[in-house]
């Protein structure tokens, strides 16, 4: 269950239900393209969506992650109808979907929804800030470890699909940088990485290998 929806007062949640349709999000699917209108919003339950900012049309950087704690398409709740980021499915799984038009109408008629979304925006801004700092100062290996743990927590599985290209976008480094970092974690027997599949072998060890940002973001989520 999506936590943002779960936090709504019962009445407010029930009036939303009829506008929400269950969908299955698939790895690699682009839900929103940067600079294009938002057609639908998504409330992930067991899926995970990555928010990417792009430059020069191809260099990307993950600026945030949305799982069951949030909503994809938050710009719409803030009064913008164009997505400033690319929303890319990173972990396949179910979500609830609502059309942009319905969402806008609901927002007007359902103040608790706006309030819950605003709290989520605050948490998301904290995550964006932290991710920015981490990207700026921490080494690739520690960032990769953080990213793997954040993914694990959100898809609730220590095994997931992942390509070099994908990781290179997430971490904002070249493919060779990803290879080096992944090999280093593999040599330390913390993960196994084969044919686009990652398996976490040693959770404790991986937690020790990542930067402090993992814990900071985790605490923020707990507070949110």
């Amino acid at each position: 269950m999506n936590r943002l929806l779960a936090a709504l007062p019962r009445k407010s949640y029930q009036r939303l239900l009829s506008s929400l349709a269950p969908v299955e999000l698939r790895f690699g699917e682009v839900l929103h393209e940067a600079g294009e209108p938002i057609r639908d919003v998504y409330f992930p339950s067991r899926s995970l969506v990555s928010l990417l900012t792009l430059v020069e049309g191809h260099l990307a950087l993950e600026v945030g992650m949305v799982g069951r704690e949030g909503m994809v398409g938050i710009a719409l709740a803030l009064g913008a109808d164009v997505s400033p980021v690319r929303a890319l499915v990173q972990g396949s799984g179910p979500a609830l979907k609502m059309s942009a038009a319905r969402f806008r109408a609901e927002l007007k008629a359902n103040p608790p929804l706006q309030r819950e979304l605003n709290r989520y925006v605050h948490a998301l801004i904290s995550q964006i800030s932290q991710t920015a700092g981490c990207n700026r100062f921490h080494v690739v290996e520690a960032r990769l470890a953080r990213w793997l743990l954040m993914t694990r927590d959100r898809v609730r599985s220590g095994q997931f699909r992942m390509t070099h290209d994908f990781l290179s976008h997430m971490l904002g480094v070249r493919r060779v940088g990803v290879t080096e970092a992944a090999s280093a974690l593999q040599r330390r027997k913390l993960i196994e990485y084969r044919r686009g599949n990652i398996r976490i072998l040693d959770d404790r060890g991986l937690e020790a290998a990542c930067c402090s940002c993992y814990q900071v973001v985790k605490d923020m989520r707990g507070a949110a």
Binding site: L51, T53, L54, V55, E56, L59, A60, L61, V63, G64, A75, A77, L78, G79, A80, V82, P84, V85, P111, R115, N118, R119, V121, H122, A123, L124, I125, S126, I128, S129, Q130, T131, A132, G133, C134, N135, R136, F137, G172, S212, C213, V216, M220
Partner: protein, 238 residues
């Protein structure tokens, strides 16, 4: 540090306050306290509880992320187009970043509780502040990607242009150390980047003062990040 009110520095020098419907503005006006924001003043500390939001009029406030190990770098700049402290009406009690005055000047502060009440009443004020929040998020994410992928001299150009847009005039009072903190690079990196721009005749840098000599060239030189942020602000805000 309270300052006196003057015509040239009325609250409406802040674009958000100026854009409020007249009745919303009048309701807030008695609570707006003018103040001076001196260079380097820490407006907010990351994670600390806050009682006020700030509306810069002739100053610039930098939002910095601070990591557990103390390293910090700028995530956004706010001047007369915005306000500092969105967390306080979006539902957080503490701010996730440190806010430091980056260019000295004036501004107004307002008790967070007063703004929160007005915000929760909905209407145009709420819509305006939400759109501002979206614009700020875009600035944050673009700054993050710029930091990751662009050269220091391009980042410096972006930073200069975003700052100038938020001030009148073409001069910034700045130390290399502060710029280095903003960009999250070492001082030598800033010296080199500023030296490059100076050699090309785009800026003059002496004794903590940066004067932009050729704004056109600076715009030609900057990475796309500046335009992305500017476009978003122009689109979403009055």
């Amino acid at each position: 540090m309270l300052a006196t009110r003057s015509e040239s520095n009325s609250p409406k020098a802040n674009h958000l306050l100026a854009a409020l419907p007249e009745d919303s503005y009048r309701a807030l006006q008695p609570f707006l306290e003018p103040l001076q924001l001196p260079l380097g003043m820490v407006v907010y500390e990351s994670g600390a509880a806050q009682g006020y939001v700030y509306f810069p009029t002739s100053s610039i406030v930098s939002l910095l992320y601070v990591l557990a190990d103390g390293a910090s770098a700028e995530i956004a700049v706010t001047g007369n187009e915005g306000l500092v402290g969105i967390a306080l009406f979006m539902g957080g009690e503490t701010t996730p970043s440190r806010a430091v005055v980056q260019s000295a000047g004036h501004g107004y502060r307002l008790r967070a509780a007063v703004l929160k009440k007005a915000f929760e009443a909905g209407g145009d004020l709420q819509h305006l502040l939400l759109r501002y929040t979206q614009a700020l998020i875009t600035q944050m994410t673009q700054t993050a990607v710029c930091n990751r992928h662009h050269a220091v001299d391009q980042q410096l150009c972006r930073w200069l242009l975003l700052s100038l847009d938020r001030l009148s005039g073409n001069e910034l009072v700045m130390t290399q150390e502060l710029i280095a903190n903003m960009l999250g690079v070492r001082r030598e990196g800033v010296t080199e980047a500023a030296g490059k721009l100076q050699a090309e005749g785009l800026i003059r840098y002496s004794r903590g003062r940066i004067t932009v000599l050729d704004r056109r060239q600076l715009e030609a030189r900057v990475c796309e990040c500046y335009a992305v942020v500017k476009k978003e602000y122009d689109r979403l805000l009055p």
